[in-house]
């Protein structure tokens, strides 16, 4: 699963720490999501989408292998 969390975060001019604080996770978790080492839960994905003002589909996209 690909994601554009890093891009959306850059658009909003936010650091990983700021995003982490706003959605109630650790900075390491944001980094893990951005490097696609960790796939967030639906609740966390929705929180991020709401914060960025986009839909979950705009951030997360399935790959062929999924």
């Amino acid at each position: 699963m690909r994601n554009t969390v890093k891009v959306e975060r850059a658009k909003k001019d936010m650091t990983q720490a700021q995003l982490a604080e706003k959605i109630g996770v650790s900075r390491q978790t944001i980094h893990a999501i951005e490097t696609q080492d960790y796939f967030p839960s639906v609740v966390l994905a929705l929180k991020m989408a709401k914060l960025f003002g986009v839909t979950v589909n705009d951030i997360f996209e399935l790959e062929k292998a999924d």
């Binding site: 982490a20 109630g24 996770v25 650790s26 900075r27 390491q28 980094h31 960790y38 609740v43 966390l44």
Partner: protein
């Protein structure tokens, strides 16, 4: 909406209390091994074991400073491995009892073993992950 896998844990400061209790239990155990104690031996042992189990349990079920879903997945992974470790421990002890010498098994020792495996594994995984993501 509840999105936590594990819904109830002790606050973070319980980890320090648990650590203190565990250290006290370890010191008492070392004292028991190297010196004569005034307490009756079996009572002393039971007290020591229960104290150690309480301390380790407090460490094991205390929240991290930021307890998020990734941490909870680490908890589940560590718990699963500790459960398998516990099973192997039981099999080894049973086999030893059957073929070599009868071992007086204690449930508290089994719990201590599982808690120790869980705590060590969980903290190791946490350390490795934080190290990986803190570098970049």
């Amino acid at each position: 909406m509840k999105n936590k896998i594990i819904t109830w844990l002790f606050p973070n400061y319980f980890k320090k209390i648990g650590l203190l209790i565990s250290i006290v239990a370890a010191v008492l155990f070392i004292n028991y091994v190297f010196n004569n104690t005034t307490l009756e031996t079996s009572d002393y042992n039971v007290f020591n074991r229960v104290l150690m189990a309480i301390g380790l349990l407090m460490i094991a079920i205390s929240k991290e400073k930021i307890e998020d879903e990734r941490i909870q997945i680490l908890r589940l992974q560590s718990f699963f491995v500790s459960l398998v470790g516990c099973f192997i421990y039981c099999i080894v002890m049973e086999t030893y009892s059957l073929f070599v010498q009868l071992v007086h098994a204690s449930v508290t020792i089994l719990i201590i073993f599982q808690l120790l495996v869980y705590i060590l594994l969980f903290n190791y995984k946490l350390y490795k992950l934080n190290e990986k993501y803190s570098k970049s």
